[in-house]
Amino acid sequence: MTPAPPLLEAKDLVRRYRMRRGLFGRAVELRAVDGVSLRLERGRTLGLVGESGCGKSTTGRLVLGMEVPDAGSVAFEGRPLPAPGSAAWRAQRARMQMVFQDPLGALDRRLPIGAQVAEPLEIHGIGDRAGRLARVETLLKAVGLRPDHALRYPHELSGGQRQRAVLARALATEPALLVCDEPISALDVSIQAQVMNLLLDLQERFGMGMLFVSHDLRAVRQVSQRVAVMYLGRIVEEGEADALLQDPAHPYTRTLVSAIPHPGRRGGRIILQGDPPNPADRPPGCAFHPRCPVAVAICAREAPALKPRGDGRLVACHLAHGDAALPRRAA
């Protein structure tokens, strides 16, 4: 018996954009996603962390087929994604949904909440009229809204309630995969906690796998079993969430972990010099080496491959694998 394929498997995804610098500038190629592979099991959550421009949101769109990769492949439940826009793709989309950062932008301001939650059911022809009404009520209850919220318009709800409405709509078609792109960043702290608790409750109840895209390592640890850290279009470290935060192996992950504002811990923070580099002007070798506090000569020449350490952690760093330390010791 062959093991069941993972819910989602992406291999060597590449997404390039062409952009022009200035009005008459030469067009340059920007690799937003540069060889990303990831794997998500049913009912599990993979957190995707990184700073703005690292390609984490583009990766989210690629695995949903909302954008077509320039290279690489995405398989959902063991089968390749159908071409975007095709009937097969639309049918597939009922099984994979997305939740965005800004719930007000994701909702239609002119439609009451109930109609918006029912919309995916209508599009995918699920149930009859009465059945849909009942389903909307169940969904609203599942996300912690009252049945009478169905008649409200988005502007009549608070930020947290809107994100609940977006979740109810995303769950309407019982998706097997939910891609959440910064779902809590726009919310207040006490509401963020509510939404994180809700996501975990919903996952337990509906069993969907989640790709949780966020810049917030704290939030990612809270909801994910595995975490992948992205820097400039590539995954630089991936591993089990608790272990990765406890003992980060890549210098960039170490910086991110040490930058988490934390009551009671003063100092001991690694302060990186400089800004995140421009994806259109990728440094040679390891893209992180110009900001890396421990970079050595090889880091500027050769890009490190993402490969497993003894304990299964994936790291793309010459030093973490000991490649770089050896020649120095020999000399």
């Binding site: 509401i191 810049h215 390592l217 939030a219 935060l245 991110l256 988490i260 009551p263 995140p276």
Partner: protein
């Protein structure tokens, strides 16, 4: 015992179109002190300082008193306010890109502040602008003087805003969510810069943030605000060790832990009350697990619990912290 405050806010109230936004703020900032103001959106943490500096629109009705070194600011003539704003108290905001003028070079914008507040001539202002850019850690400051805001990153623009704020040699810098729009690694840089500047210049800092973690690292004292009032005030260590107000405890409990076992977050149920539907008693009572009849009758006063620690909760009592049921 305490030195005379640099800024003393007393009974500050603000109402927009008859709806109260601030309902009596008392806060003193000592010279050189770093005070954090924490709360959710709409709690009044920004409005407090916009009101103090006369930056609210005309429809806002402001009451109470804001004094800096004995000088009353509320209702002060524009000439007095203009000297204080940028001169004695400077303010920076969340989004540096929209605070800077996109069509002027940054050197010119900093020099403008220097001419205004320190009366420097063109050449002296340019030299000083360069020194300030250097001080806030912009590499190659001489060349960056001629850059436009869009040529700089978000973190660098926030550094430019800080340089402009320093132009008037303020005694107090009010930073309103200065790192919220920035990436984590850049947030660490800016917090580090603010701490370094405070050591170098001795200025006081008010850091307004929704993030308890940020405030805990950068400040000595924290004021927690809820629905237009300060509900708890304490030194940072004390706040995290012995928070007395259920709202403060809720905010701390809502932070996901970064180590140890994962637990279900202690989310505060419900949302912040709207200004037109403010409960008669404690504004937090409808969300509070420890609510009792007294909470809904009258607004709880800020009770002093210990040295520099005060909370506005009927369950908080001076002496041991165990007075609040767990």
């Amino acid at each position: 015992m305490a030195p005379a405050p640099l800024v003393a806010i007393a009974g500050l109230t603000v109402a927009f179109d008859g709806q109260p936004a601030l309902r009596g703020i008392d806060l003193a900032i000592a010279p050189g002190e770093a005070v954090g103001m924490v709360g959710e959106s709409g709690c009044g943490k920004s409005v407090t300082w916009l009101a103090a500096l006369g930056l609210l629109p005309g429809r806002a009705v402001v009451g109470g008193s804001v004094r800096i070194g004995g000088q009353e600011l509320l209702g002060a003539p524009p000439a007095v306010l203009e000297k204080v704003r940028g001169g004695r108290i400077a303010m920076i905001f969340q989004d540096p890109a929209s605070s800077l003028n996109p069509v002027h070079r940054i050197g010119r914008q900093i020099a403008e502040a220097l001419t205004l507040h320190r009366g420097l001539g063109a050449a002296a202002a340019r030299a000083e602008a360069r020194r300030l850019l250097d001080q806030v850690g912009i590499p190659d400051a001489g060349r960056r003087l001629d850059a436009y805001p869009h040529e700089l990153s978000g973190g660098q623009n926030q550094r430019v805003m800080i340089a402009m704020a320093l132009a008037g040699r303020p005694e107090l810098l009010v930073a309103d969510e200065p790192t919220t729009a920035l990436d984590v690694t850049i947030q660490a840089q800016i917090l580090d810069l603010l701490a370094a500047l405070r050591r170098e210049t001795g200025m006081a800092l008010v850091l307004i943030s929704h993030d308890l973690g940020v405030v805990a690292e950068a400040c000595e004292r924290v004021a927690v605000m809820y629905a237009g009032r300060i509900v708890e005030e304490a030194p940072v260590e004390r706040l995290f060790a012995a928070a007395a107000h259920p709202y403060t405890r809720g905010l701390i409990g809502a932070l996901p832990p970064i180590e140890g076992p994962r637990r279900r977050l202690a989310a505060i149920p419900g949302g912040v009350p709207e200004p037109w539907a403010m409960p008669p008693g404690c504004a937090f009572a409808p969300r509070c697990a420890h609510r009792r009849p007294a909470c809904e009758r009258a607004l709880p006063a800020l009770i002093r619990l210990a040295d520099a620690h005060a909370a506005a909760c009927v369950l908080a009592a001076p002496a041991p912290a165990e007075s609040l049921p767990a």
